[in-house]
Subunit: 358 residues, 4 copies
């Protein structure tokens, strides 16, 4: 099976497996409703920042594709959508283009269509620092995502089987490329231990990309005749759980979140849990493929407006203030917290503790 | 879209979305059954009181409508029902009449039909103190509801976007109008923090009006072609949760409850949680529109009789004694309590603690 | 509506509402499986005793009916079944016969058919001590059940409305009748507070008769055209919860259990929770009416054999030893325990504590 | 009913009752996903050991059948599968052959087809030490399973009813036979107390064989016309719960696990809970009967490959290292732990405690 075919498969299967309103861990998180927003909506700002960059909007189009004729067309449209909406956008893995110059255009089209926007490159944790540098150059990238996807590699027959050098390599990539590096999961989420390991290596930006949306084990199973890894489809933790897991490291790490984001309320919840910005892949792809780029642009503009509404509902004029809202962590997410030593209570009483303490 | 049309839409959509026995948080509350009522039913009284007024019955018809020809007819019937049953009744928001004198009759008909009854006016938290005064005069109102409905305003395209002055304004309204003021939610419930804010402003009466019955986000979504706020339909807390939330302030505040009340057992539960009286809107409207005023009067009379029966079952001769019954707070409501620092145990052992202590 | 008709209705509705394997609180109780019974089955005895009497089997046919031509026939068959199986049997409420001598035969037939067996009379808590004495005489009863059924009375249009004198009256009945008195619920269960009240009055025998089987609110609702008390059908606590509730009083009270018993495993569980014997009504009636007395006798004989099997499985040779088995109290029953201050843990570790302590 | 017929029935009913992906307690156990395996797959070894033996693979074909013409054929095929895959295999109960030499071949065929493999004999806890010795000889067995199956015996009309001597007898068997003895449940699981009793008798090897897969009460019920023990089909505890129960004795006992194992992820979970190896019966039988020995061999080879993949995902190069992975114990299993005094938290934080402590 050719590399191009694999890329087209990923897109087709992700699209086929997409379900609009699938229940996920965001549904186990509720805001406490306080009746008085104590603000006027005009004061609300959607801007967000990390130590490495500042964005006008706290959500972005996350890394997906490239590497074939079909995905060139998708990336062209995604680039245009990012340009029209002013959103940051990440590329899919550029490995193919690092090996085969013929498919470079399917990636560089992103930059071509979004010339002044924020574009993130994307490579796997196994590429050499030199290749990582080439990936950045290919897109004149503003930042580089380095994806870590061990479960996917392991389930792919043609996947990587050597993980021993990943952490060293990430350190070397960071040292070499001249742009900020985001270490990024691909839908399995992160743990406290993973964040700890990354901090040890000097990483300052992560994207926890959790379970509950695009499911790469399900996708790879569709690509195998026997589908023998169906029992693995629940693997990993959600963005919600991941944000709770990595929260002790949020001083040292700027955390981005993605995975299973369905609508602006999910964005709001991730931001309230401490994410600096929120990535969307599956839902963006779904709208693009089923309704086209115009509807996608309209939808993303509507998200911006709705996000302002939602910020008003919880009385926040800035993304930072969302981190002082009251969140109820329920059911299985609460159980996860209790088992892992994360206190779910403090999240439920942040406004009050501001009243008493701060 | 005209103001009249909006009022008719609200009624039509509330009616269409109504479900007779929808599960809600009242179902997560059980009384402990004690076999000996130790009373004779003749001794039971349904009377209730707050520091501001005394009512013969502990439930009332809550604020709904007015402002159009159709809603004039509804208010005429509601006024007659209140008159026949001796229940207190609240008006829907009088804003329309404050702007357009032509629709005043659709509100004043309430007082016309219920000349000696207890009638509550209703305005939004954004009206001026003078307008509030006019609203009271319009109905010769015995009290004034000031509704706080930020989520509804935000979801309405034509809604208010400035909330910064609401608390000051509520204080000014109270200072101006010569009748008791009830600050009232509209189906999203109240939090401890909201009660705290209101106490700070000298408010003494609130109606927590919680989630689980009429759902204004669902209603407003039906009015939008895109229905893009469907993910918000679970917003807010129930009357049950709200009563638990505000309970630390029940010394300073007299609390009324509404939202999702389906039958007399819900009334009993709200009273047992400390409500002084219980408002009903959706169910009243549903019976009126589907079965007419006669059946509504019969039903409300049956509620009185059933409420006596239920009080006998839990051994209470007065509404106050209901606050010493044993309540089991279960499942998601219990989880809410634990997360927010409310002790669910004491409610389950109130009879016993009377045995030991009082 | 005539008294006879009411009795026939109760039987017909109880039969119609019966469901063979309805989930109830017994399903929230599990034994810990220990692999070594450490006994030989021949050593197992089913005998049980209270301070008032000793029975060869730890289950009995609980109070049901009488008072009409149809129920005379049912009681005749039940008397024959009790005689054939050697089980104790209780009469339905004898109130009708105390007022109308014509229906006495429909009760006394029980004793006629079970001449040397253990027969319990049955009266309500409102009858006079003299009437209670007459009820005992009518059946040459070995004991007298005094039923307490406030919720049923309250839901019945023709029901009792005066409960103030019940406890005094129970004391007076006990003082007058020359046989042991069992104070008995009718499917709503007992609380710690109820057991406490009864102990205060010198009562030594109770039947907690809990929710989960025959449901008298559902039955009475079927008898009303409007069925307006449908929201009350979940009222009360189960036999399982009741046994946990009254356990602190098991030194002073001998506790019988009934309500929702479907099969011998439910009997075993009630005995393991401390019941001295276990009453069955709905299931007995169901088999009698749908399959006849022969099948009922076979079934009850099979229950004896199965109960021996089950006692072997948990390593108990006597009913008393069942009180040292390990029970897991789960889900909503566990929640009830936690809310009411009952420790569910000790029940799960009784074998172990015998190892360490006793 | 002949003994042969019973053996054929067991196979037929086990096959008929088998469900491919039935939910069981393994589903209440999740690994925490850590993104960095920090290993290369080539380093992974599947080998496992107990104090009594060492195996190249950590799963085995558990004891099933023999004793009739049909089961001879099954055992012939199972022996060939074990030979082809190099897996250890246990025989079904050899009691029949101890009484009737004509059926010996149906057991010894296992050894005949798997001449150099690891073969376990199987007898009940009631056989004499001499019979146990004969069973070992019959198979030139490398070890002997002594099964304990009180619930099954009790539900079988023809079953054993004397359990008083089982523990003494197990001690005597161990003293006599020259091979390691595995005391084994048959699908009802073990408790801490059972492990304690076995340790007292010097037993060093157990197979907890828990609930959730093959269900011998369901099978025996199918063999009875009345199926009167259907209420017992939930009896016992799962392999997951059993491993947690017996964990305090894992120093003195080497624990094998079986019962409800559906796929390699269940194997991984049992190993992570401390099992030295994992037995599979129902699933093996199902594949054999529905797809034949070739597919069974392919499947078991696939399990080996998948198990390596899974070990890589949790960063373990050896079976021992699996015992330091992070496991989330959820829902009903967590409740079991809390009720029985087992700490579910430590399992969720094993990697971290290695970071801090070891
Ligand atoms: C079609 C498709 C291809 C993807 N390819 C990549 C990739 O090459 N590199 C990467 O880091 N993530 C890739 N992802 C993962 C996403 O960036 C994201 O982590 C994951 O889809 C979860 O987010 P979602 O639930 O919003 O889709 C891909 C996702 C999709 C849907
Ligand atoms: C048709 C309709 C119109 C309403 N209009 C108002 C209003 O104008 N002002 C107000 O305070 N509440 C209004 N409400 C809210 C009710 O007073 C109440 O807070 C809410 O419906 C929850 O109670 P329920 O579940 O019993 O309907 C309205 C409710 C309905 C059903
Ligand atoms: C038809 C019927 C009539 C009953 N009548 C009486 C009665 O007269 N007195 C009484 O104490 N209990 C009466 N009961 C209640 C039973 O004794 C028992 O408390 C209740 O049915 C719960 O047990 P079950 O679930 O096994 O039916 C009656 C039950 C049935 C089914
Ligand atoms: C058809 C069949 C026959 C069995 N016979 C025996 C037996 O004779 N001795 C024994 O110890 N276990 C016997 N077992 C039980 C298994 O060894 C194992 O403990 C049980 O089936 C649970 O594992 P599973 O869920 O993988 O099937 C038998 C299982 C099956 C399916």
């Amino acid at each position: 099976m050719s590399h191009q075919q694999r890329k087209d498969d990923h897109v087709a299967h992700a699209h086929a497996l997409y379900r609009e309103r699938r229940i996920n861990d965001f549904d186990h998180l509720d805001f406490v409703h306080h009746s008085f927003p104590e603000l006027d909506c005009v004061a609300i700002s959607l801007a967000t920042r990390t130590r490495a960059f500042a964005w006008p909007f706290p959500f972005y189009i996350n890394g997906m594709t490239g590497g074939s004729a079909k995905t060139l067309e998708i990336n062209r449209q995604l680039g245009e959508v990012a340009q029209a909406t002013g959103l940051a956008i990440a590329s899919g893995s550029q490995s193919a283009a690092l090996k085969d110059p013929n498919v470079r255009a399917s990636f560089s089209v992103l930059r071509e269509r979004h010339p002044n926007g924020f574009v993130l490159g994307n490579v796997g944790a196994g590429v050499s620092p030199t290749q990582a540098e080439q990936a950045v150059e290919m897109l004149h990238a503003d930042a580089l995502q380095v994806h870590i996807n061990a479960p996917q590699e392991l389930v792919m027959p043609e996947g990587d089987r050597e993980f021993g050098a990943w952490l060293d390599n990430i350190e070397a990539i960071r040292a070499r490329v001249g742009v900020p590096v985001v270490v990024k999961e691909v839908g399995f989420g992160m743990s406290e231990e993973t964040a700890f390991r990354l901090r040890e290596r000097g990483v300052e930006l992560v994207d926890v990309s959790g379970r509950g949306g695009t499911n790469f084990i399900a996708i790879e199973n569709l690509r195998r005749s026997a589908q023998e890894y169906d029992y693995l489809e629940g693997w990993g933790q959600s963005a919600v759980v991941s944000l709770l897991e990595v929260s002790p490291h949020m001083g040292a790490l700027d955390v981005l979140a993605s995975g299973g984001v369905r609508h602006p309320l999910d964005v709001l919840k991730a931001l309230a849990l401490g994410a600096r910005a929120v990535g969307v892949s599956g839902r963006v792809l779904h709208i693009l493929l089923s309704e086209g780029p115009e509807v996608l642009i309209e939808t993303l503009e509507a998200w911006k407006a709705q996000l302002r509404t939602l910020m008003a509902m919880v009385g926040a004029t800035t993304v930072e203030e969302l981190r002082h809202t009251d969140l109820l962590i329920r059911g299985p997410v609460r159980e996860h917290c209790e088992l892992r030593g994360i206190d779910p209570m403090t999240y439920a009483r942040r406004a009050r503790s501001a009243r008493h303490g701060g």
